[in-house]
Subunit: 217 residues, 2 copies
């Protein structure tokens, strides 16, 4: 049996959301006492917790979720550890030079997960504000590698060039699916199978996902 | 590259929900015009569309989603086709005798997907009311096989013994995860890899999932 590592943040009523996004609400809808069984109701944004961005999140005319091949969301992935054994300091710019040390991981059509260690800050006030950030040039460097999926352990790719990074990664010619809010990356080795399928939302900009790493037997 | 078959119903604003469950609502929250990017807000029940049931859905003290090992949701599965090339008639009782013809598929710890063909009725009024239904004895027969996961192409296991079937399958000694609302089963062969992870809801009764079948190269 393969080992499966959970790479997803927990979802609880009132849990943290990106500041400009909807709150996360989870409430009982039916209960044993009223209805004979438990059914809950969930209200959340499409970029809640561990989630992915489709091009249509930032690109006018860009692909929504349901126009991305399912094969993008499942398959071999490589973890690039930018802070072995620790974490990048708050607000560290992630530059092309830092990525170039791991250039062999960035294969056309592949999946790359960047580890900064920032997921250790989940639940603290600075999680959404002081994250390590891709520079605009780093996003361009990644886009030029034509990978299919970029995974991040920060809640967004960049606070210093957020709009530009999203446009570069999701834009025409790149169309890289961005997975944000990954956790538990210390439990993975460099190579693993990534699985993180969006819910089957038609025409949407993103989806919360259950991202996992599969370690074959 | 493996082939991936989408086994999940589409999720659209106002789409069908089980009659006693919350409605499915999907609305824009931010847009290019107001906010610079697209973010949507979703409200739905935990048993919306293609979804899975944890024991806590029907069993007091039963396991919620986050106490089920992730390995249950991913791995080899066998499709049992109860209506090769067609579909069972509306309201057909599914009996132990019908299942016993496929007894070899029901292996302890395994995953079994029952195909009735009922998913062709998705979107029609009868989808939620006239489905083929497990008898209480069929649920007992399945529970005794100690499989880990039972997948169904109906929206619920039974209209003739719904409460009893849920209690038997989810109850102590069985604790079989039930996946409901599968579709596109005609695109699968008998053997495939099932993947259908719940969102990382803490303490909940169920979750919408993106269920897929992976056909190795």
């Amino acid at each position: 049996m393969p080992r499966i590592v959970d790479l997803s943040l927990p979802l609880r009523d009132g849990g943290p959301s990106y500041p400009s996004d909807p709150p996360l609400r989870i409430q009982p809808y039916r209960t044993f006492a009223a209805g004979g069984c438990n059914v809950s109701i969930v209200s959340m944004g499409t970029h809640q917790g561990t989630h992915l961005d489709a091009p249509w999140h930032f690109i006018e005319g860009g692909k929504p979720l349901d126009r991305i091949p399912l094969t993008v969301f499942y398959g071999p992935a490589v973890m690039v550890d930018l802070a072995p054994g620790g974490e990048l300091a708050a607000k560290t710019p992630i530059t092309p030079e830092m990525l170039a040390q791991h250039e062999a991981a960035f294969v056309s059509g592949g999946r790359v997960i960047l580890r900064t260690g920032w997921y250790a800050r989940f639940g603290r006030p600075e999680y959404f504000s002081d994250l390590p950030s891709l520079t605009a040039e780093a996003a361009r460097w990644i886009a030029d590698k034509r990978i299919a999926l970029l995974g991040l352990d920060m809640p967004t790719p960049s606070k210093i060039a957020g709009r530009e990074c999203h446009h570069t990664l999701l834009g025409p010619g790149a169309e890289i699916v961005i997975v944000e809010g990954l956790t538990n990356l210390h439990e993975l080795a460099r190579d693993f199978i990534f699985a993180g399928f969006p819910l089957n939302f038609v025409g949407l900009d993103g989806s919360p996902i259950r991202a996992v790493g599969v370690i074959p037997e």
